[in-house]
Amino acid sequence: MSYKLLPLRFERFNNDEIFITNEVGEFTFISKDKFEQLIKCTLNPQDETFLNLKAKQILTDTDINPVIEMLATKYRTKKSFLNKFTALHMVVPTLRCNSNCRYCQVSRKDVEAHQFDMDKSTAKKVVDTIFQSPSPMIKIEFQGGEPLLNFKIVKQIIEYSEWRNLFKKKDLEFVICTNLSLMTKDMLKYLKKHHVYISTSLDGPRDLHNKNRPLQATDNSYDILIEKISLCREYLGHDSVSALMTASRFSLERFKEIVDEYISQGFNGMFLRSLNPYGFAKRDRRMLGYTMEEFVENYIEALDYIIDINLKGTYFVESFASLLLTRMLTPFSTGFVDLQSPAGIAISGVIYDYNGNVYVSDEARMLAAMGDNKFLMGNVNKNSYLELFNSEFIRSLIRSACLECLPECSSCAYQSFCGADPVRNYSEQGDIVGHRPTSEICKRNKKIMHYLLDLVKQGNGKIEDVFWSWIIRRPIENNVCITSS
């Protein structure tokens, strides 16, 4: 009996086992012995391992064409984020900010520096450009600076978008990323009327938050934030407000406290984010920065803690793990721009700066603020939609941002779960292709994925329940039998 191998990737997972994936990221663990038999084509077709590998289309001893067809179908599903083109459109209404965040990655401008405000005609052009995207879903996310400092432009963009959407009939969503300090009841009434979600930043307990994210007017930004969060919830509903954290050096060793803070503030999830090396974070990295090893160590400790909280009955999601798990355990594609291949830059998400400049990603405009316009796509006031999105620059950038053909990524067993990030490669390593063995992002992603896979492999049913409750966004339910009714 002979069989043929189909495309597969593998890695030594631990001393005894090989982690093996097919082209679409379905995986299994097999012993070294079995792996040896597999590649020598001596596995017995009655063997359990043989059947498992056959069912995952890693080998076939019968037809090949229909097996390829099945893989192709799943591949299309995994890559379906490509079908719709750019859905996320970030807009910077102003670069002015009243915060004084230590690690500001966007190089904020002074509160009085009105030359960094978006003007009306640029705002209109931005919306016109956005509405040329073929995506049936459009998410407009206001970034900054502090968008509330230029609320009239925020309003103009919302209203003009809604008007355009009367004809386009897309699934239109607004998010405003704000430190909330300037939020007023009138603004909230407006945001409620226009169904705008709020994303704010909470870095941890009072002292930590105040240390990372003081306001220019006061060091005690924490109390203001907490008060405003409850005001937002009162007007918009509990689930309309979400928060993000960024870890600075001061946050290390304190992840559990940060998790506790999120839970006590009534959030049912968080995103444990490492610092991006842009802006002040790069300038002051000696004081604020840390190694990726340090971050991952803290992250894993926090993840275990969060899993434990879920096991004790509180539904609380860690978004990065949830994203990776969705990519590992489901046949579906995810919308997160940073974990895609081809990279999500420009084709999934894009950012419009205050002056109409269009960049391939938020990080690209952070880089531009530091004087490097490498990833500038053009300007809405000068360039048409096609010139912006269909340029040879974008095409060649995307061509060289596919894990399938990047050195090392192409054979990496974690490829299907990961994403390409040419902007990060460029800013860290000086070229868009990058060098994996010294890449910080690669280090982080691989370590966290390995950790999650290990948890999955251990087959603890309860932990598995927690993971699935995150993936399908449904709190774990007690097993209800008819007996209890």
Binding site: K54, P66, E69, K74, P331, E464, D465, W468
Partner: protein
Amino acid sequence: MKKITGIPLLDINNHIIGKITYKPIKHSLRQDFIFVANGEKLESGYAAILVTKRNRDPKGTTILCNLEDIKYLNTGDVVSIEPNGNINVLYKKNSVGNVLLVTERCNCSCIMCPQSLVTKEDDKSPFIFKIISLIDNNTQLLGITGGEPTLIGDKLIDIITACKQRLPKTKLIMLTNGIKLENFDYVKKIVMVQHPDLTIDIPLYADTDTEHNNIIGANGFYKTIQGLYNLARFKQKIGIRIVIHKLNYKRLPQLAEFIYHNFPFVFHIAFMQMETMEVAKKNIDILWIDPYDYNEQLEKAVTYLWKRGMNVSIYNAQLCVLPKNLWRYTRKSISSWKNIYLEECGKCDYLENCGGFFASSLELHSQHIEIIKKN
């Protein structure tokens, strides 16, 4: 379907189909009705008349039946009468288990088939259209089954179209092995009928071609899979059915995994206890495993899918055989005319919730049937 024995009081030449009525019907409409007479003088014009006593003056087709059998028939039921007087109950107005058996031919020979199949038969479609024209248009649910329904080709499309026109409120569930659905154009025709509520249920017995094909006795695995994909391309509502027996129970969890990764678009997945009739009965030695003995695999498969947000059910199972955490997935799925309970089931507190047995299970069923008391 239920059969009732009758004696024709006059010779009958053809099959007769009609709708049962206990009340006299206007003369001009009588030709579609079968009148159940209750001693009164018989009138002409009905498709047939059922009597329980020999009548001195039979009119047209008059069938003598047993009083007990007649009680089984209600107004609105549809029956056919064979020339020998046998009455087949084709449709019960008060049941949700009605099916249209559109052919008895099949392109598979499943090792656990509960039916006896024929290789040649006359076109049943005129008969099916007649049934469709007679059944109540408030019917909730109607099955289309066989044999293998797709073997009748375009006539199947006509039948679905007739259901859409005549019974627009009736949910249709069609059972097919999906092999013929490998043909994209055929699937397109089915979907283009645009029936408002059609589900297509397709069996999948294993996660590899070798095992599945061995069970169905045909080279169908990849064709069925192509069929599933073709249906999915039209966003057709699809169910997957898995009959469990000794040849496939071991890899139920892997089969669940296979389904989730390859067919996450399906609307419903049903794991089914086997009905031990006909072919299945002949092969019982290689097929039989006490359902209690595959609980471990069944539980893994069901919870695997449920955790992933899939809609999953267990059909044809008895509560006392299953672990309690699986009770919530059970459905009363056995057609009422062949749904039985054992004598001891009468003492069980969960009789009402339990799906019971196939009539054929009287001889062979799980060794773990027991009476369960509340508290």
